[in-house]
Symmetry: C2
Subunit: 142 residues, 2 copies
DNA sequence: ACTCAAGTTAGACAAAATCTATATTTAGAT
DNA sequence: ATCTAAATATAGATTTTGTCTAACTTGAGT
């Protein structure tokens, strides 16, 4: 499976717990919180303590197999989508969706960025997702 | 002062505590955490409890005068939202800097965004800020 | 089999945010 | 000016999120 591949190329030991964390994230592209991952991993067998989940999220992140995505709520969220992508946040239902990658025109922001050395960027869009857009346009009063 | 203006147009009561929170954020564009705001506000007079600071950050955010900016650490960070802007995060020193606003070309991402209704967006750049770029290129071992 | 380092663990701890119940302030009516 | 209802503020308890510690387990290399 390609997860083994990922571990090998990252020179990271694929322990049962670590594997389970990565497997969950790879199979659930929903930007799970550490707590959700903890519960999911413990539903199946290789039990992992909270500390282990946090430890592994950190080692996976350091190896580049997972990344912590910025989020508005208090709990950190993680993502195993290794392809570059942008994000869309629905302001009505709170869903966070991946947007497939497109480049900014090379000139964009050249002036605004001044002497900074940009190695990466990401666009975060906000608005109404398809589901919410089709629902009640505003719900009047409340 | 323009803050009164802001309160009036948001139909939000400018209580001493609320005013102090907004004033601090407007005067310190550094993406403060709630804790920093709490301490700053209590250095001067109108003392505010922690709960009040959180309450006011939320009411100000709902009124659009302030916004919670996404951040990597665990503590939420806030920004007085008087001008639209992008962000730059230095991957070496962790600084978060504001980048003056520029629009995305209207066609950008049209396909990738599908049927979503975008009402706003923000670009987050990463890399080395001017200070870090000029410092040691990598620092060898560590 | 023995050793050492990496990994895991439970639970204590700390930090960040929210909640609760009460007190205070304010805007508007009288 | 006084009263009342709604909005706001408060201290402290509580919950949620994340980190730390110290003991235990595992496995690769010898």
């Amino acid at each position: 499976m390609e997860l083994d591949q990922a571990f090998r190329s990252a020179a990271l030991r694929p322990t049962a717990q670590r594997y389970a964390v990565l497997e969950f994230l790879a199979g659930h592209p929903v930007h799970a919180t550490a707590e959700e991952i903890f519960r999911a991993v413990n539903r199946d067998d290789p039990r992992a303590s909270r500390a282990t989940v946090y430890n592994n999220l950190r080692s996976l992140a350091k190896a580049g197999l997972v990344r912590e995505v910025m989020s508005e709520g208090k709990a950190a969220r993680f993502d195993a989508n290794l392809r570059r992508h942008h994000h869309f946040i629905c302001e009505r239902c709170g869903a966070v969706e991946d947007i497939s990658w497109f480049d900014l025109p090379p000139s964009a922001g050249r002036v605004a960025l001044g002497g900074r050395d940009v190695s990466n960027y990401e666009i975060v869009f906000r608005g109404a997702c398809e589901g919410c857009r089709d629902a009640q346009p505003e719900q009047g009063a409340k």
